[in-house]
Symmetry: none
Subunit: 237 residues, 2 copies
């Protein structure tokens, strides 16, 4: 335990200074391996589509109980535990238990016994959930110290991975005059048909504008677009 904290900090520093995904992976493996974690998952998520998991940066280990034959990417997106990260407010431990009707995942305070256990660490930013890291294994150290240490490392790893892998992509994000106008009326409680009448457009056009707005802001629903646009100063709060 006295080594843990130092190792975690050293790992985080190494990850921050790293220049590639392999550095991150090695650093995490070296730290978490001795603690019983041999399955790793790192992904970015956004509140955009229904399929909220946007990009899988790293998936490794026998998550699938079939030796990895399933398509990792697809599996990850459907994994109940992965998806639970989208609802979580804090890091949490989980257990996969065998039930008569197949496998069941449960969020637990401290996993024990046979089966696969893990730790999920959501990563948040100014706009909410931005990604998560998941670590699992058969016999894991699930103490509070490990949770804190891995939270530090996972958060650092996520930011580093995103910086490295997401670098080229950047978004303009701002709305056009017309789009601000449409969104402004929407925020004022007007329905699409009303806005169309007000602005002298067809309902179809208003709808298209709203879709484009959602796309540009990278959000899934119009209510969310309102919130983001207010945050951006695109429309009045």
């Amino acid at each position: 335990m006295s080594d843990l904290a130092q190792a975690a900090l050293r790992t985080a520093l190494m990850i921050e200074a790293g220049d590639g995904l392999p550095v991150i992976q090695n650093a995490v493996r070296t730290l978490a391996g001795p603690l019983g974690y041999d399955r790793f998952l790192l992904f970015s998520a956004s509140t955009s589509h229904e399929d909220r998991i946007e990009r899988v940066y790293w998936v490794e280990g026998d998550w699938f109980a079939d030796g990895g034959r399933a398509d990792a990417d697809t599996y990850v997106r459907r994994c109940p535990v992965t998806r639970h990260a989208l609802d979580a407010r804090e890091p949490f431990f989980w257990s996969k238990v065998d039930a008569p009707d197949g496998e069941r995942y449960r969020v637990v305070r401290s996993p024990r016994g046979a089966g696969v256990h893990g730790l999920q660490i959501p990563v948040f930013g100014p706009l909410g959930l931005e990604g998560a890291m998941s670590l699992g294994g058969q016999r894991i150290d699930a103490s509070a110290s490990v949770r804190l240490a891995l939270t530090l490392v996972a958060t650092t790893a996520f930011h580093a991975a995103r910086r490295l892998l997401e670098a080229p992509a950047s978004k303009p994000g701002r709305l056009s005059e017309r789009e601000r106008e449409v969104l402004g009326w929407t925020a004022s409680g007007r329905r699409q048909a009303e806005i169309a009448a007000t602005l002298g457009l067809s309902e179809r056009t208003v709808e298209n504008h709203l879709r484009r707005i959602r796309q540009r802001l990278g959000v899934a629903t119009t209510p969310q677009a309102i919130r983001i646009a207010i945050g951006n100063g695109d429309i009045a709060g």
Copy 2:
């Protein structure tokens, strides 16, 4: 340095297990004091309107250069560095430098020289910014290790403080606790069905809550409810 990581982890654990603000304060002081930090600030914030700082949990030390005669709460709300936390995506160091036309704050990679320096650590959650912790001093250790260690501790401290201080009372907004929760997730792009799953409710109930929210706020549509609720400070912007 080899002590730092251990001390940080120990501090975080102590804070998590603590049962009062004094425990948190002592823990932070003990860790950060030897690193040169003697001014502390912990507050909750929402990204809603102008006055984004919601509640100051802890302010201590000579932040004001006048020995603390100014109203701490007021000062904190206006402090440029404090406000910068609202725009930050990650922890950052800052420096207060003397300029011909008064004091100036600057965000820097590594503060040095005379003057007051500090570290700001924003804390995020599913709905975006939730609060921040600021630590300052005349001669601070501004290494990457310290940044990481204090990030861990500050994040833990914020969650603990909120849990302890925000538990009993909540704001008098027209919306009930549950309603704010539902509306908050809606503003984060979740659909009714998803919110139902997250909160363990039927879709019907979520729908009923949203209708009641609209009724209470006196608005016609949910997007408008988002805007009004943000304006009222009922949900995070």
